[in-house]
Amino acid sequence: MGREVSESCVESLLTEIVSSYCNGFYADKPELAARRIEAIGFQVGHQLSERYTMDRPRFTDHLEAIKFICKDFWSEVFKKQIDNLKTNHRGTFVLQDNRFRWLSRMSVDPSIETLGSIQDPSAMAENKAAQAIGMHLYFPCGIIRGALSNLGIPCAVSADISNLPACKSFHFEFFYSANSLN
């Protein structure tokens, strides 16, 4: 392994991406902020997949590429492997990480006001905390989508955070329309 930096550097950047886009210039447009944050992640995932696959044989099928994402890629980025991989064999995959690294320092204050500007008040009242954390998941979702799409698997990625706040287990779900899955 090459150069390293302290993890705080990365964590700080993530915090700042979200706060710049959500509280700064797109304070009143959360969907737009989300899309920008996702785009940043997409670029990173795209580039990382290029780097991390450099010294390995070509994948024979999509499943092999997905396994690579769950194991090697996940370990490089999140310092552990995925805990569980499920699929419905129709293009939907669910990746479960029981201790998702990037949220391991996060606690949400139940009375949180950080995202008080979200436009749909009913959704906000229902689960403000989940929404606040959700903003922090667009970046990793973007990374995964970027990596997969560069490996020839264009897809949509979403993160499920329904089991908040105590449980730090996360589902990343992605869907792609493919008929070549063996």
Binding site: R3, V10, L13
Partner: protein, 223 residues
């Protein structure tokens, strides 16, 4: 009371969680690229990067202090003496820097330089390797100094397009340093003197001490 030497950057680095630098480098690059798209004006991007750095600095400094043992050693009241201030400032900044970018020290240690040197020479990059940030160019009063980097993980892979000539790509660093120093009562102005992305031979940040805020004294507070 002579200050005890703080833990070296190496020792701190051994103590903190690490990730590979590529993730950091590429994430930062993607942020800059996205900001350029969204803010359009290069000047605005510079400002935003500096602000982000500042926000990071004011939080990071505590982790540095907590994990480096510096907390017990440096007493800023002693800084009344210029010489003391200098030596303090020196160790402190280098400490902060090596913590922010511990990769330097580590790389030096691992003797990987030879291989990389060859690689880099082969691509014609006149990059110095195995360097750490140095603090120098103090003025006579001890209020201005420079932080000089000959290597910088933020700019691995980066080539500025012609359309971004006014961009201070690494501006987040000046913000980090400014924020961190402000939290230990030193108001500074941080400006770029040299920038390798603009063709200079090193990165040089000039730190100018504007004022040393005295320690909080409750009676003067805004109560």
């Amino acid at each position: 009371m002579a200050p005890v030497a703080p833990r070296s950057g190496d020792a701190i680095f051994a103590n903190v969680e690490r990730v590979n630098a590529e993730l950091f480098t590429l994430t930062y690059g993607a942020i800059v690229r996205q900001l350029l798209t969204d803010l359009e004006e290069v000047e605005e991007v510079n400002k935003q990067l500096d602000q982000m750095g500042y926000n990071i600095g004011i939080r990071l400094i505590d982790e540095f202090l907590a994990k480096s043992n510096v907390s017990r050693c440096i007493d800023f009241k002693e800084t009344a003496e210029v010489i003391a201030k200098k030596s303090h400032g020196d160790g402190f900044l280098e400490g902060v820097w090596s913590w922010i970018h511990p990769g330097f020290l580590r790389k030096q240690k691992r003797k990987k330089m030879e291989k990389r040197k060859i690689e880099n020479e082969s691509v014609g990059l006149k990059m110095f390797l195995g360097v750490t940030a140095t603090v120098g160019n103090w003025n006579a009063e001890g209020t201005t100094c420079s932080l000089i980097l000959e290597d910088n993980p933020l700019v691995d892979f980066v080539e500025l397009p012609d359309t971004c000539q006014g961009l201070y790509y690494c501006n987040i660093l000046s913000g980090v340093i400014r924020g961190a120093l402000e939290m230990v009562s030193m108001k500074t102005e941080v400006t770029w003197i040299r920038d390798m992305l603009r063709g200079d031979d090193a990165f040089e940040l000039q730190l100018k001490l504007l004022k040393q805020v005295p320690e909080e004294y409750p009676y003067k507070d805004d109560e």
